[in-house]
Amino acid sequence: MKSIIDKIIFVVKSLFYQGNFNTENMQGTGFAWLVKPELKKQGVAIPEGDNRQFSEYFNTNPSFITIVAGIFINEYKSGGNAFAAKNLYGAACGALGDSFFWHGLRPLLFLATLFICVHFSLWGVVLYPVGYILPHLILIIMGLKIGSTYGGRTISLFNRLRFNYWADMADKISIFLLGMLIVPLFRSSPADDSLFIVLFGLLFVIGYIMYKFLRPIVFLGLLIALILSTFFIYGGFVI
């Protein structure tokens, strides 16, 4: 029973570990806060000299924090170079997580949610948080066990699960969904005027080209200018 409560506490703590996120040590403080008590619980003595190293620079994707903690604890207990492992696997898991969660899953869920909202019900919006939270929580809950069991082989495990492939696949499905969403948008424009369809197609291509050359902030400025200019075109400001 006590071990289950300890595991729950560890998982809950891992949801808050980014509290001291800063540019000096990134998530290092949170990592130390998470890992030091866990090592003590497992009866591992922390030498005086090591104490300060725990909170040094560390960064990873938040969904993978417990996995990196598991790898670190495994290395520390076995006398390996745990601090080097922390940085190495932190960066590797960070790349995996960014690619899967932020680049692949989030846009896919967004488009799938939008598709349901447009064609079925606005309550389809619950798909977005639910679809994201489930894999996030599964990794957080199982992370410590995965990390401490597989240790340095954790990345190979994710490669075997073809984690990057799924992120890539999510991108392709997203493009398909985007096509499915945009076309009805064109059709809803002023009735059967085919000129509008060509115009909107052109605007879409312009947007695509802009992605290649403009940073989001510059693009945002242009977008604001565009919205204001439509106000001018259709009526003019009342000044």
Binding site: N20, T23, S55, W102, Y128, K172, L223, V238
Partner: protein, 215 residues
């Protein structure tokens, strides 16, 4: 409901910066929650869509601070509920104002991280041990207060600007004009995905044709 929005803003700020990572702070979700509570779901989601499309591309990787789309959606949705936006003109005006006010609010993230860094260096220099729990607690409180103060203050600023400029905006803007910026945003968004150009065009066209035939 307006009192509930204040702690809600704090929780959104925490979810975005320091805790949970449950995507409750994503614009689409924020606007859906406020819209369903305030009774203007469809207009809230329309605005959330703008912020979400832009925010999805702005990833907070490493030290990068992405623009605070959570605030944008929060302020827009509160406006949509408080000053019912029932036309494209009102909605687009509110979106533009929230886009602009979003940037000063984004800078508060930088400020928060700076204070976190100062606290960390202070405790490290002092030679204290096991200070991490205290720093995490301070960080959570600051993130919560950031939402409470700056999200509500920013929303008030947005509302003030909106009420001041709405008289100047023409009411004759046709409803399809909302599709113009949305289409460009979608084009911009499509560049974000990893795939060869030709494959992208093919997949996009297949999706379009499929949708054209089915719906």
């Amino acid at each position: 409901m307006s009192f509930m929005l204040i702690p809600f803003a704090g929780l959104l700020s925490m979810d975005r910066l320091t805790a949970f990572n449950f995507v409750f702070s994503r614009p689409l979700v924020v606007s859906a929650i406020i819209g369903s509570l305030g009774g203007n779901l469809s207009w809230c989601i329309l605005g959330g869509l703008f912020f979400e499309l832009l925010g999805l591309l702005d990833l907070p990787v490493g030290t990068r601070i992405s623009s605070d789309d959570t605030f944008g959606a929060f302020a827009y949705s509160v406006l949509a509920v408080a000053v019912p936006l029932q036309s494209v003109t009102y909605a687009l005006t509110a979106v533009v104002i929230c886009f602009v006010v979003m940037f000063p609010v984004t800078w508060t993230t930088l400020f928060l991280r700076h204070i976190n860094g100062i606290l960390y260096k202070h405790y490290r220099k002092s030679g204290a041990e096991n200070f991490e729990g205290w720093l995490i607690f301070c960080g959570q409180i600051m993130a919560f207060m950031r939402g409470v103060i700056f999200y509500t203050l920013g929303t008030a600023v947005c509302a003030g600007i909106y009420l001041a400029v709405i008289r100047l905006i023409p009411q004759s803007v046709p409803s399809f004009t909302v599709i113009i910026p949305l289409t460009i945003l979608c084009g911009y968004f499509s560049g974000f995905f990893h795939a060869g150009f030709l494959l992208k065009i093919m997949l996009f066209a297949c999706g379009g044709i499929f949708s054209w035939l089915i719906f």
